[in-house]
């Protein structure tokens, strides 16, 4: 699926004293099978933006297109199955007595045969490395385990685009890395991933392209190198280090990921 936002603006509480223009003329495309990173400071409009991708919010101006077709012409239930959205701190919405019941909730709403629903639950839990949690009660799980179960619930819908809003906030570093590996695995399986994060280091590791938001506008968009080297002061640590060296070592390239950066630094003369 190609998901496109065209010149989208969003105004909260229009016509009231509390009116806020949260998005201003935002355009972007999520290509099939890519990881799109959405970065920006607190209040830059990231969460408002992704809620437009499955029409939880409708644009005040502009449009959302699914394979070139106006998303409003699609059935909402169908759109939300194909574009799965995992909110911030999704574990707060776990409610069923066991993990497998929780993950099964959404596929059952699709009217799937019970065997098919169970198979999807098993598969989603397996992808997230959470099979052994199936019969546990959600409230007995740790923060990282709950987060994985909540993501499995959305994955069980077999979305074509998976949107993760700050999926690693509050998780320990190793669990964060597991989630990044999962994102790359989903991409391998042909699922597009939209990763919203304020952690530039993690976006640097997985994104194919990046859109940087500032005060509701797209301030920069392109490959991670194009976006991050434009403003190295607000870039991942790898880009900051390399940018600082460029003054005396103009021959140095523009690596972004950790491994590329390490190779670049090792290749520097005399280092």
């Amino acid at each position: 699926m190609t998901l496109e936002l065209k010149d989208v603006s969003h105004v909260y509480a229009p016509g009231t004293p509390f009116e806020v223009e949260a998005l201003r003329g935002v355009s972007l495309v999520v290509e099939p099978g890519e990881v799109l990173g959405i970065v920006g400071g607190t209040g830059s409009g990231k969460s408002t933006l992704v809620k437009h991708m499955n029409l939880l919010l409708t644009p005040t101006i502009g449009e959302v297109l699914v394979d070139g077709v106006d998303a409003r012409s699609l059935k909402k239930s169908e759109l939300r199955r194909r574009v799965g959205l995992v909110f911030q701190f999704p574990e707060s919405a776990l409610f069923a007595p066991t993990v497998e019941e929780d993950v099964a909730f959404a596929p059952r709403q699709l009217g799937l045969h019970e065997d098919e629903a169970r198979e999807r639950v098993r598969e989603s839990l397996r992808v997230l490395g959470a099979e052994e949690l199936a019969t546990r009660a959600p409230f007995t799980l740790s923060g990282g385990e709950k987060r994985r179960v909540a993501i499995a619930g959305v994955l069980a819908m077999k979305p074509e685009v998976l949107i993760l809003d700050e999926p690693t906030a509050g998780l320990d570093p190793a669990t964060r890395q597991d989630l990044l590996a999962l994102i790359l695995g989903l991409r391998e399986a042909g699922i597009s991933v939209v990763l919203v994060s304020h952690d530039l280091d993690e976006v640097a590791e997985v994104a194919d392209r990046v859109s940087a938001l500032h005060e509701g506008r797209v301030r920069a968009a392109g490959t991670p190198a194009e976006v991050f080297y434009r403003e190295p002061a607000q870039a991942p640590a790898t880009v900051q280090v390399v940018s600082l060296l460029k003054g005396s070592r103009p021959e140095i390239g523009a690596p972004v990921r950790f491994k590329e950066t390490l190779e670049t630094l090792r290749a520097l003369r005399g280092v």
């Binding site: 607190t42 209040g43 923060g143 998780l171 570093p173 304020h198 950790f258 090792r266 005399g270």
Partner: protein, 285 residues
């Protein structure tokens, strides 16, 4: 390490001490904390790290008397938080992760004063304390701003000022930057560093780069105190890091891979400088 807490046995000279503290949540099979012992000397800055579910949040709740230990003893400024929670909270302030949950008043200065009103501090003294606290977090000129209009980093600084105004001896920072973007995190850390050495600080975090300057780092995993180490030893112990689901941040990890000392290089500027210095000296390690 073989004997966690050795050399920091509870005694009269500690701002905070825990002796064989255990706690289980009702209905849970495994203890959230078991037999945890450590002490914080006045003016120490000590980090607490460990995986999700390791016991960090439970420890914070025990220290300010929200929970009572099943066994063992806790002393905070020579008081027991289980029996004197209000006295303890005058001396130990907690900064939580999400500043949005804590800000209540219409203006910044009222928010900073809120805790003082609850302590019954006289009005003329209150004004001085609020002004000092606002200065300590660099928010002069923000007194009449509405908290809703502030950035995440600014809100967290307001929350910190509210705690500083109550003049606690001890500060517990519970993942104080986890909801902030990179700019907000740097900004808050700058003011947290300035708390030393006047306050005793216990700083809970998932971000190891925040603790490179700490006096010690405690590791809680599965309810056990696994280690009590200096940052230098801890950050260079790859096994200890891996076993506790910790990953070195990008800058020290690059330093380590390049054969440079990871604990003294926590910012991109420091690493870039070290790389250039080595290139110029022409030595290869």
């Amino acid at each position: 390490m073989e004997n966690p807490g050795e050399g920091t046995r509870p005694g009269g000279s500690f701002a905070v001490s825990c002796e064989n503290v255990s706690f289980s949540y009702p209905g849970s099979e495994r203890p959230a904390l078991s037999e945890v012992s450590f002490g914080l000397r006045p003016g120490e800055y000590v980090g607490v790290v460990g995986p999700n579910g390791g016991g960090k949040s439970t420890l914070v709740r025990l220290l300010n008397g929200l929970l009572r230990p099943d066994s063992g003893h806790i002393r905070v400024s020579d008081r027991d938080p289980a029996t004197e929670p209000f006295e303890v909270r005058k001396r130990l302030g907690v900064l939580f992760q999400n500043p949005d949950n804590g800000l209540v008043a219409p203006f910044v200065e009222d928010d900073v004063a809120f805790g003082l009103e609850n302590l019954g501090v006289a009005r003329h003294e209150m004004q001085g304390r609020v002004a000092r606290a606002i200065r300590a977090v660099g928010l002069e000129g923000y007194e009449r701003r509405e908290p809703d209009t502030l950035s995440g980093g600014e809100k967290q600084r307001v929350a910190l000022a509210g705690i500083l105004a109550t003049e606690p001896e001890i500060l517990v920072l519970d993942e104080p930057t986890s909801m902030l973007d990179t700019a907000g995190r740097r900004e808050v850390l700058r003011y947290l560093k300035a708390l030393r050495p006047e306050k005793t600080v216990l700083h809970v975090t998932h971000h190891l780069e925040e603790l490179t300057g700490a006096d010690r780092i405690l590791v809680l995993n599965g309810g056990d105190l696994i280690a009590d180490e200096t940052p230098e030893r801890f950050l260079s112990d790859a096994d200890l890091l891996r076993e506790n689901r910790l990953v070195l941040p990008v800058v020290p990890r690059l330093a380590l891979e390049l054969g440079l000392p990871p604990t003294r290089l926590s910012t991109p500027e420091e690493l870039a400088e070290a790389i250039l210095a080595r290139a110029e000296s022409g030595t290869r390690t």
